[in-house]
């Protein structure tokens, strides 16, 4: 029965132990006379029953005017997205060895270029010198045609070329993704 002592500040003391039974009976369409009498006398159960009936009626009305979209369109859209995602994953798996091979080739190419520059540079320098640039170039440009570069400068130049290659490679890989 209701525990309405009226002195409690807490709402918990105002609960009725039969509310659940009243509501269940109402939902089952079998609100017996005894429960019905209780609900009429107990303000807690009366309110619960009132709110229940109001909300059930409101729910029925709201469902009536609910806009319903085509489930088929949603179904096909989700399936198409899943299919695309599966393809993308498969492609990613297939591309991985290709990408690795490309990086290996790039690194190899870079090493070969460094080695080649180191081998060719002295010969190229000698050849440029044999052209005697002082005969056909102004004095201020002569140093450019056959520069006197030391080993450290050559190394710096190779490092700059290498860095440019690495940055370009990274950019190309990234833009592909």
């Amino acid at each position: 029965m209701s525990r309405m002592d009226g002195t409690a500040g807490s709402t918990l003391r105002e609960r009725c132990g039969r509310t659940a039974a009243v509501l269940e009976a109402e939902r089952a369409g079998a609100l017996e006379a005894e429960l019905s009498r209780h609900a009429a006398q107990c303000p807690i159960c009366a309110d619960a029953l009132w709110i229940e009936r109001l909300m059930v009626e409101d729910a029925a009305a709201a469902r009536e005017r609910a806009p319903v979209s085509d489930p088929g369109a949603l179904w096909h859209r989700v399936r198409a997205e899943e299919s695309r995602a599966r393809s993308a994953r498969a492609l990613e798996r297939a591309l991985w060895p290709i990408r690795a091979a490309r990086w290996l080739a790039g690194a190899g190419g870079l090493a070969a270029a460094g080695w080649g520059i180191a081998r060719i540079a002295p010969a190229a320098h000698a050849w440029l010198g044999s052209l005697e640039p002082s005969r056909w170039l102004p004095a201020e440009l002569e140093a450019l045609a056959a520069p006197e570069l030391d080993a450290q400068t050559w190394l710096l130049l190779a490092a700059m070329i290498g860095l440019t290659a690495v940055v370009s490679g990274l950019y190309l890989s990234w833009s592909e993704m």
Partner: protein
């Protein structure tokens, strides 16, 4: 929003839940089963969301999103009720996320809600509109709670599961929400006698 989630490749919370609850590829719904499920749940879900948010347009959007995430999750559940509760849980999370980032309802929103009720709906229309308006004075969680427990008639355990609260808390929260709504109804001159 749907496209954004798909594009950035995030794993939605629902997918993780579905994985945790043991979804198997072989158990997935086919199109006919999904159509039947949608037919059975779309209208009640919209009613739940529109009463919880108070915004018909937002409700339509969220219902679509909820079904979309439900499908993406591949959740099958142990039966129709399990699936339905799972869908409601998705919708509840979406509402929570959306309402958290949303401004308070304005007068324009109220007019939108009022205009969503067509005049041809009969004598109960005005009372229902009053109920819809008064529900807005409750916290979103209280509205959801009242709706699930009374309009949907779900047991406390399922209400707790959908709302992500403890079962023991539902009884107390429900009692408070009911008391608050009854008080509001009376304040506006709506008593059981008037409304019947």
């Amino acid at each position: 929003m749907v496209a954004k989630t798909a594009r950035v490749g995030l794993v939605p919370r629902e997918s993780r839940d579905a994985a945790r609850e043991g979804t198997r590829e072989a158990d997935r719904m086919d199109e006919a089963a999904f159509r039947a499920f949608h037919e059975r749940t779309a209208r009640p879900l919209w009613a739940y969301v529109v009463r919880s948010t108070g915004d018909p347009a937002l409700a339509e959007d969220l219902v679509q999103e909820a079904f979309y995430r439900f499908l993406r999750s591949g959740f099958t559940g142990t039966g129709p009720e399990h699936r339905k509760n799972y869908l409601y849980r998705i919708a509840t999370n979406l509402m929570r996320d959306r309402l958290r980032s949303r401004r308070p309802l304005s007068r324009d929103d109220e007019l939108t809600e009022r205009s969503a009720v067509t005049p041809s709906e009969g004598a109960g229309t005005e009372l229902r509109t009053d109920l819809a308006r008064l529900l807005r004075n409750l916290e979103p969680r209280e509205r959801s709670l009242l709706w699930l427990a009374h309009a949907e008639g779900l047991p406390h355990r399922e209400v707790a599961e959908i709302l992500g609260v403890r079962t023991g808390s539902v009884r107390v929260m429900l009692f408070r929400a009911r008391k608050k709504l009854a008080g509001l109804l009376r304040e506006h001159g709506l008593t059981p006698e008037v409304m019947s």
